[in-house]
Subunit: 414 residues, 2 copies
């Protein structure tokens, strides 16, 4: 998983080697012979995580897997009981799926019976599957007798300067974030859960995004790249103490919500063909980092702390005032931090023949206002805005992991 | 890669175990504890293949990787020289990409320069990348002075009974099949090649499909499953002698076309939500196989040879007359065989809220009529037709691998 430091260095050597050759001729490929010798870059498709637990749901602190299927649902039944059954059935199914299992028979012995499980993940390992369930604002209403269970800070996000939201990519009453190191394992999970939703009559599919390659690092992972080619997630939250401080709910609201968190999701379109014609100096200034190394413009290595006050000999800020890392930095946001768990996506080719791609941005925080504060600043000044549009959005409360024998948010029905 | 027989058996045990529990309750997940212990299920992201060679292009006989980006292009310049430059530049770029490299500088030293390579695959291994280039019928016309170089059997496919083709998903003058075990590596390759096409003015993007999970086996691989949950590719071509007989061109046409082949691609929509409500007995009859084991209905193990004449005590064929494996079998098609190299895809949720998914079917054969013969039979009688629609289509001649120092189809310009 990920490549070590040695590999990074050899790849950088490779890059310089390749740059010396002329593009467009059938160059010898031997220059890159050192790039592929890191025996550590293996993906273990048998790794698995537990669904049940004592703290937050899996898929938040879990090191980001390589693939995501994210899907939202609309509630379609006004009955409290239907919602309850759905959450109970989803929980039982997720527990089995995360162990690499099926949710029931694929091939019942009676030929007239229908399989419970759709079967396409048979023979595949658990592949680090995690399924994380979120509850939208509509859950906590009088319709379901749950108004008094509302997480105190759950509400619709306010309009932000970067918004260009499409209704068909926005909202939802329930969310399912399925992440795995095999896309078919993640797809299978979402498909089986969508089937249960339909079967109970409680909810129907709303919008979905399939993401890959991840664009945020977890503990022990090297930092991946977004589709603008930049490392994304260098300053992400990884320490236990920061999860306690910024992610997990500790007080306020019903006690069953302790160790829950708020999930914000944004579908961010990137105008990658425009970006690809931009000068490298401008690209580096937009992010405030060097593209290849990921180092801040004031540093030499990826994890060097940015010096936001440093000026060049002409008196200009080295990390420009509109640079993405300056605006997003906790130093410049009263210490606020959010956990990012984003993935790259592509929707193929758009109606005018351009590559249609971007970022499925997902953040976790113990107060949605933290996301809004940072995004309001980014949306107003970020040099990146020329190349991106926020086209989809959602907000959900993510209950803590259920204990064994229980199910997601069981306590709110009692 | 794939799981061994032991794992298959333990998964089957798991399945039976899961079936005994009640769906919808928070069952213990310990039943599946044996499923995830096959230490062999590792994916080596440093594996790489050579672009240059003496026979067919990589990506045909190569064991199928886990991901595909398939893209077609329209020729946009009438100049022979532009086509020639495009194929030369693509070849040089592909050779470097397959080694895990970039196609040139990501971060030029002059800030006013633009990067050659978009950079999002830096730090990633070669991940078994192969890029396979195909030439459509329009290449071999008087426009480019190439009418006399036309592969003798290249022509548009005739209309088939299964056709429900959408113009925006059909045709193309060039095709790029990029397969890798990491989706970002495959995406990066296609993006860089699309950029070169734009830069030369020779070609523009037409349609694309991103596929995953593969649905056909290669040598040494276990058989994967399509999104109908069935193993797909059990009887695929794997032996050298069959490649010589059915895939690589050996005679007819210009000599540079030896070891070329014809690529047929079909985007096949699967109505998976309808399928999921079908009785298991019917599903097994539609394919002619048992869903879990993959064994033919006349056998006990996946690789048992189907007995197409066997009848049940009532005198009915055990493998029905309309079963997919009967209609597609070489025994019932005068010995015809084609190489299938297909992938699953999803387009998310369709306009009526149903999961929108299917199969990117790709076949290779030394005569496109072989595909037509089999598909005509399937389209007319296959029980599967109720659940699928062919919505996209293309046909391309795939030249042999270029020798080092040369580029794809160089000989046709001399």
């Amino acid at each position: 998983m990920g490549s070590g430091n040695n590999n990074r260095l050899s790849r950088r050597g490779l890059l310089l080697g390749a740059a010396a050759s002329t593009i467009g001729t059938a160059v010898s490929a031997t220059a890159s012979a050192t790039a592929a010798t890191d025996a550590g870059d293996m993906l273990d498709l048998n790794r698995r995580y537990d669904f049940y637990g004592e703290v937050g749901q899996a898929g938040i602190r879990t090191p980001p897997q390589r693939h995501i299927f994210y899907m939202t649902f609309d509630l379609t039944s006004p009955l409290r009981r239907d919602l309850q059954v759905l959450l109970a059935r989803w929980s039982g199914a997720i527990a089995q799926l995360m162990q690499g299992g099926t949710i029931g028979q694929v091939e019942p012995s009676r030929p007239n019976a229908t399989g419970f499980d759709t079967g396409e993940a048979l023979d595949l390992g658990p592949a680090s599957l995690t399924v994380t369930v979120g509850l939208g604002p509509k859950v906590f209403t009088d319709t379901y007798g749950l108004a008094d269970q509302k997480p105190p800070l759950l509400r619709n996000l306010r309009q932000l300067p970067s918004d260009d939201l499409k209704p068909e990519l926005t909202g939802g009453d329930l969310s399912v974030q399925a992440c795995a190191d095999d896309p078919q394992v993640a797809y299978h999970a979402v498909r089986d859960l969508a089937r249960i939703a339909k079967d109970t009559g409680a909810a129907a599919t709303r919008w979905t995004v399939m993401g890959f390659g991840r664009a945020s690092a977890g503990k022990g992972q090297t930092t991946p790249r977004n589709l603008l080619g930049f490392k994304d997630g260098t300053r992400n939250i990884i320490e236990e103490a920061d999860f306690e401080k910024f992610i997990w709910l500790k007080e306020g609201g019903p006690s069953w919500q302790r160790n829950g968190t708020y999930q914000v999701v944004r579908k961010i379109k990137m105008h990658i063909e425009n970006w690809d014609t931009d000068r490298i100096g401008d690209q580096n200034n937009v992010f405030g980092r060097f593209k290849v190394s990921g180092a801040p413009l004031t540093g030499a290595e990826e994890f060097d702390t940015p010096d936001f006050r440093k000026q060049d000999p002409g008196g200009n800020l080295v990390i420009p005032a509109t640079a993405h890392i300056r605006l997003a930095a906790h130093e410049n946001n009263n210490g606020l931090r959010i956990l990012r768990r984003s993935y790259n996506y592509t929707d193929g080719i758009n109606e005018i023949g351009l590559l249609d791609a971007g970022l499925l941005f997902i953040s976790y925080q113990n107060d949605p206002a933290h996301f809004e504060t940072i995004q309001e600043k980014l949306g107003a000044s970020d040099a990146l805005n020329e190349y991106i549009s926020h086209i989809g959005s959602g907000i959900f409360f993510v209950p803590p992991a259920p204990r064994k024998g229980s199910y997601i948010a069981q306590e709110m029905f009692t």
